[in-house]
Amino acid sequence: MAPHGHDLVTGCFGVVPLHVAQHPHNCISNNGLPITHNSVRLIGRYADLSALSHPNICKYLDVIRGKGELVAVVQEYHDISLQQLISKRPPSNLPATSTKQIVFDITSGLHYLHSRGIVNRSVTLQNVLIERNTGTAKLSNFGFFYLTMGGKAVDFFVGDMALSAPEVLVSKISSTKCDIWSLAVVLLCLMNKGHLVNESSTFAGIIKILFGGQLSVREKCSQLSVQLQDQFVEFLEKSLVIKPSKRATAEQLLKLDIFSECKPGNHQDELYPFALSKAHLVTANDILDESELEEPLSRACTLVELYELWRMAGGDVLAELEKFGLVRGSIPICDLPLVVLPSGEIYKEHRDNILGQSQTLYPISPSLIVKRLAHVEPEVYFPLTLTKCKLAEGMQDMAQLPTVIKERNIEYQLHRIKLFTALLHGYPASIDLIRNEAMLDVPPLLRRYVWSALLEVKGDIDDYYNKIDKTQSLGAIDRQIDVDIPRCHQYNHFLSSPTGHEKLRRILKAWVIDHPDLTYWQGLDSLAAPFLVLHSGNEALAYASLKTFVRKYVNNFFLNDNSHVMTEYLWVFCQLVMFHDPELALHLQDMGFIPELYAIPWFLTMFTHVFPLQKIFYLWDTMLLGNSSFPMFLGAAVLIQVRETLLSYEFNECILLFSDMPDVDIDRVIKDAMRMYQITPMTLTYRKHSYHQQENELLPPKPPEGGAKYSYTFSKTFLSEHVASFPDTAELKEDSCGRIFIQDLAKLLRYQESVEKRGGTASSTIVVVDIRSQDVFDVGHLPDSLNVPISQDLVTPDGQPTSPQVHTLLRHRRKRDSLTVVVGPNEGATRKFCKMLMGLHFLHVARVHGGTSALSQAGMLCATS
């Protein structure tokens, strides 16, 4: 964890405002859709830049779309440029650095960019910044040529003509080689302590000398009165070459003897636990060095973290630009067109042409957060995760507050970011700790990694993804993907950009090719969207996350014929609603308002088709902690949240209500779902067609702790027969409440017993109702079960319970903390009894699969003593 040296006084990130070229109004592209705004294209292309990280380049931090095709690009900032360094009065206190090291740094930065296919085109003295405490040179503004699609999206020349390679000026060809030329000219300037000059000092004059094909490097230097240092002759002979093909590459230059002693920069890797071979385990003692902690914030936060905190504290990039007078609100009348042709073409006066037409970097001061975090204890920056994660005092209360509040509290976020960073570095070993912490909340900055960890993404994901041949033709599926992508979450700038479209297409195709037994259903696009937005700069990780997600939650939905899977899923969902809100469930059932009519988009897309991404982030933060049935609980929570409305509605109104998802409170949905999840027997949501056989849930309970009343052991064969005899959905539809497996009942009883033994009260009381006649009951029954024979009426005509057992049973009718489990001798009787209970709107009713005969086979029945 190398400390970073951001200077807090002068700023550590800056913003470049860019005005991109506007399209004429009402332009329509080939497919009939409006032409994508250049600003949106830029935002799409930014994704690849955001993923770049190297000691000799300035990190890109954000891109923001302003009004009128203004794009604000936020990036790492240092207040000294190479230009200033070589000026007459260089800033003091800089570590001594040699021209050689600077050239090496720049070349290293270029090599990194070129290896990723990025042409800089803006290598100039201003665009090389010097880090104050290390003296390292870093390329800044290197991404504009790439961002603007080779300069096409802006009306100005990207770069500096004086430093441009011959092929750029003559034939407008820009390859990585043009950067090498600019680098050579920068070196000439460096040796000259300033700009290049000749007698006439005109641009043309200088260019003429530089481009002079016959002149040697030495001759060029002398004509430009550059004091050529001998050590650079070879470098220049290889780089200041007219023909691009003969010019050296950055890689070749780095191998020159002159650089043999140069040190590559110290690189702090961006957090990327999924490819880390070994965990970075750091203890506070290794790091806590008094002197380093004078400015703990700047030293212990990465730039990315710092920017995130600044934004959370209310930092607003566009407002900062306004402070510089850079975003001028124009008076609406000035926006009126001058001429409108009958064809619809509109001519407007060009607005202020100077603003945003260069690549000037304006510093932003993070003072906003520095003050607020001044008192944060140093330990926060280096949390000890090996022993126990504990929130500092004062933060514990915070943790209980709603997410929106937590996300605005930067002290809290700093804690969380630091803690999760440490945990993620320990992934996969730290998975349990990550899970625990994620129950509280997930810091937005790290959500993408936390999600991938929760999904247990592992292995060489890059290699895996790269090996899938995504160019393969898929026929009809290709056409389907092509029509779906331009309609998928298009309010999101990234997803609506051409880059976003391409990436989504590749990921979807990769998934289809990678899963020969499954296929593309409309909706998979929406499902992929959250991952792609989070990992916009890392397709492989987006893909790996999607893959594991689909397998866990929606695997068989994507079978060619998924009807049996869907039918089963939706039926179990119905039973879940019945379990928690029988009144609502019966109302919906009576109307014929079946989930097939409204819930398919919910579950097939795990809500991504019905909620905007921002809500999905919160929803999935929790969902990823649950098992494959958890989404059903979310669905049930949505229904229950609007239950009063649904109860008062008729069929049409209900259908209309869900045609556009009503505005539900997501925080509450999550809370309700969690509550239901905790009190629902695991096997109530058992599905034959779920991918995971939910093995943990079907395991027999642990061996007894000696002498317990409810300690049973089941043989493996018994259990597998028990599960295998589970009926098909068609038969289940005759049931009026859900079924649980016998081992689930045993587990619940044992749990209750152990809690009671410890003198506590279990969160729910289990009432087992045996509906056989009393004489059979007396021969053998589950200890403490109630005998309410099916043959007997529950209440007398005047409403009195017919027996003390019935009385007890009825007491549990509306109890939120009761679980009523029915065991019966046969299907008919059990169904009849359950139906009666449901008719009375009994909460939390389940029947045991196999009924009393299963109990008997399992040896759970005892005679009345």
Binding site: G32, L33, P34, A476, Q480, V483, D484, P486, R487, C488, Q490, Y491, S496, T519, W521, Q522, G523, D525, S526, N560, D561, S563, Q589, D590, M591, G592, F593, I594, E596, L597, Y598, I600, P601, L604, T605, H609, E650, F651, N652, I655, L656, S659, K733
Partner: protein, 212 residues
């Protein structure tokens, strides 16, 4: 679970209710047509329809108010198995294709055939060649569409959800063709019964439209 019929009957206003279903290949503009008809809007980036969507709208023809209960279905072939759930019992259908895409016209024809076999015998069907505004890119001539429609006794119109051309006309023409007597209080107006789904898929017998 079959649902019981809803009370859409005489107690309410005297609007006649008809169930109408939209069918056709995906991205031909089914949802856009409905959105234009019901809300007067058009979204360039109209989201895909998963499963189906439901909307209602009324039109008045010859002094009679007709209320359409519109089921807008998913277009992808894979969602086909859900379709019978929506068209069964429907009194009207709009089969949509995109005039700039030939394949969608072929798909429309197969929908016509399927409805002939599986839907109510008295169902009123309209064929809509959508995206009329893109007629400079057309791949299906008007004559072809209208000839096919005539041959199969369908209402035919080229529409544009984008400009709104002919959109409400389609619905009005359908409304004109629908019986103006109060539908008998049987289950015709009833929406959906999932449980006959299976039979229909397996090419179940004729007359599966009104059960009970």
């Amino acid at each position: 679970m079959s649902g019981r019929p809803r009370q859409n009957g005489p107690a309410q206003a005297k609007a006649l209710q008809f169930k109408l279903v939209l069918l056709g290949e995906s991205a031909v503009g089914k949802s856009s047509l409905v959105l234009r008809f019901v809300k007067g809007q058009f979204h360039e980036y109209q989201e895909t329809t998963i499963g189906a969507a439901f909307l209602t709208q009324t039109v008045t023809v010859d002094g009679v108010t007709v209320k359409f209960e519109i089921w807008d279905t998913a277009g992808q072939e894979r969602y086909h198995s859900l379709a019978p759930m929506y068209y069964r019992g429907a009194q009207a259908a709009i089969i949509v294709y995109d005039i700039t895409n030939r394949d969608t016209f072929e798909r429309a024809k197969s929908w016509v055939k399927e409805l002939d076999r599986q839907a109510r015998k008295d169902i009123v069907i309209a064929l809509a060649g959508n995206k009329f505004d893109l007629s400079n890119k057309r791949m299906v001539e008007v004559e072809e569409g209208s000839a096919y429609a005539q041959e199969h006794n369908l209402i035919f119109m080229e529409t544009s959800a984008k400009t709104g051309d002919n959109v409400s006309n389609v619905f009005v023409e359908i409304a004109k063709m629908l019986p103006k007597v109060e539908p008998k209080p049987n289950n015709n107006g009833q929406t959906v019964r999932i449980d006959d789904n299976q039979e229909a898929q397996n090419g179940g017998g004729p007359g599966c439209c009104s059960k009970n």
